[in-house]
């Protein structure tokens, strides 16, 4: 890749998705774009980027941007946070709700490991008698397709997933291990670009959005946070990475990364 190639990809990522891509990280760029270039039939990443530049086709542009979006790859990456959601937050939300399902949204779900970890934890120890709807979204169409299929390689199922959960929740598949249909059917999927207008996406009692904020440009980060905050149902929780600080949202002192809309914001809404 030439410096001009890298700068073009960084600029497209910033414009289309608010992603912070450092143009000097040649290895990362080539590593992510290499498979896309091969899939699209180009001899090299450079040829692919030239086509992105010269043809100005939306499909190719998005193939490049989506490939550069964050890709979480481990099951149960933050088991304490998941445990807290299942054992404390959801029962508390269920108590305050009069009927109706709890709506959860994994906003940057990657290839599905995090949202399926949540589904597994709910299947094992979720609040009894509480209907729960899980929605999952990602910027990357191909990752969503993989997530929907629920098939993971031998390497993938060994990152964060216990052997007990593997035998409990997975079946043998031709190319690895397939999550049980019961768990796959717990999740509904949709491609979402979080910097776009999300006013019609609905309200959620809990929104998970981890491993993304640090990869966004400042302005995009503000827009994404505003969108997610707007999508929170009254009393709902936004769960980010543990180290996040979010102006305008109230952090839970005992649960790092857990935020609620402040009383002033709730009153204004």
């Amino acid at each position: 890749m030439t410096p001009q190639d890298r700068e073009l990809v960084a600029r497209l990522c910033a414009e289309r998705a608010g992603l912070r891509v450092e143009a000097d990280r040649t290895y990362l760029l080539e590593n992510r774009l290499g498979p896309v270039a091969r899939r699209e039939g180009f001899a090299s990443v450079h040829d692919f980027v030239c086509a992105v530049r010269d043809r100005d086709e939306e499909r190719l542009i998005w193939a490049a941007v989506e490939a550069m979006s964050p890709a979480e790859t481990a099951f149960f990456r933050e088991p304490q946070a998941l445990g807290c959601i299942v054992a404390e937050v959801l029962p508390e939300l269920a108590r305050r709700r009069d009927g109706g399902p709890l709506r959860l949204w994994a906003a940057a779900c990657g290839a599905g490991q995090e949202v399926y970890s949540l589904a597994m934890a709910l299947a094992e120890a979720g609040p009894p008698g509480v209907a729960i709807e899980i929605f999952a979204s990602d910027l990357c169409e191909r990752r969503l397709e993989k997530a929907q299929a629920g098939i993971y390689s031998q390497f993938e199922v060994q990152r964060g997933l216990s052997a007990h959960r593997l035998v409990e929740h997975f079946e043998a598949a031709d190319e690895g291990f397939a999550l049980s249909p019961r768990l796959r059917q717990m999740v509904r999927w949709r491609r979402v670009n979080l910097i776009e207008d999300l006013s019609r996406i609905g309200k959620f009692d809990l929104i998970l959005c981890r491993n993304l904020m640090g990869r966004l440009l400042d302005e995009a980060r503000g827009r994404v946070l505003a969108n997610l905050e707007e999508a929170l149902a009254p009393g709902g929780w936004l769960v980010l990475d543990a180290e996040e600080v979010v102006p305008g949202l109230t952090a839970d002192s005992g649960r790092p990364g857990f935020f609620r809309r402040s009383a002033a914001a709730r009153a204004a809404a």
Partner: protein
């Protein structure tokens, strides 16, 4: 420092595992089959055992059964580490008393993840 006994008839696997485990802060001992591992355990019961399934003299499952009958043998955390990737075999290992199961080939991330899940890292 926790002691991890690597039980595998492949010298290459033992060497790879030793390097990763030492980097993770374990003291490492090695055995080439179940019988040798049992002799080791009788001398100094390891905290953790990384255990191959198919080995000459005594296989991993038989070793695990005998280990659990030894004084203090119920305390060692046993992680199977095998080329067997059939879910029924994994279930059999867990039913036999293993706390985790690693499918070969493995790398440092997988080994660290499984040791964390086993509560020894």
């Amino acid at each position: 420092m926790k002691l991890c006994l690597v039980v595998d008839d492949s010298r290459v696997v033992r060497k790879v595992a030793r390097r990763i485990l030492e980097d993770l802060g374990f003291e490492v001992a090695e055995a080439g089959d179940g019988a040798e591992a049992l002799a080791w355990a009788r001398t100094a019961m390891p905290d953790v055992i990384l255990l191959d399934w198919n080995m000459p003299v005594m296989n991993g499952l038989e070793f695990l059964r005998r280990l659990r009958q030894e004084p203090g043998g119920d305390l060692a955390r046993v992680l199977f580490c095998s080329v067997e990737n059939d879910l029924d075999r994994i279930r059999e290992a867990l039913d036999g008393g293993a706390c985790e199961y690693i499918m070969k080939p493995f790398d440092g991330d997988i080994l660290a993840s499984k040791l964390t899940l086993a509560g020894v890292l």
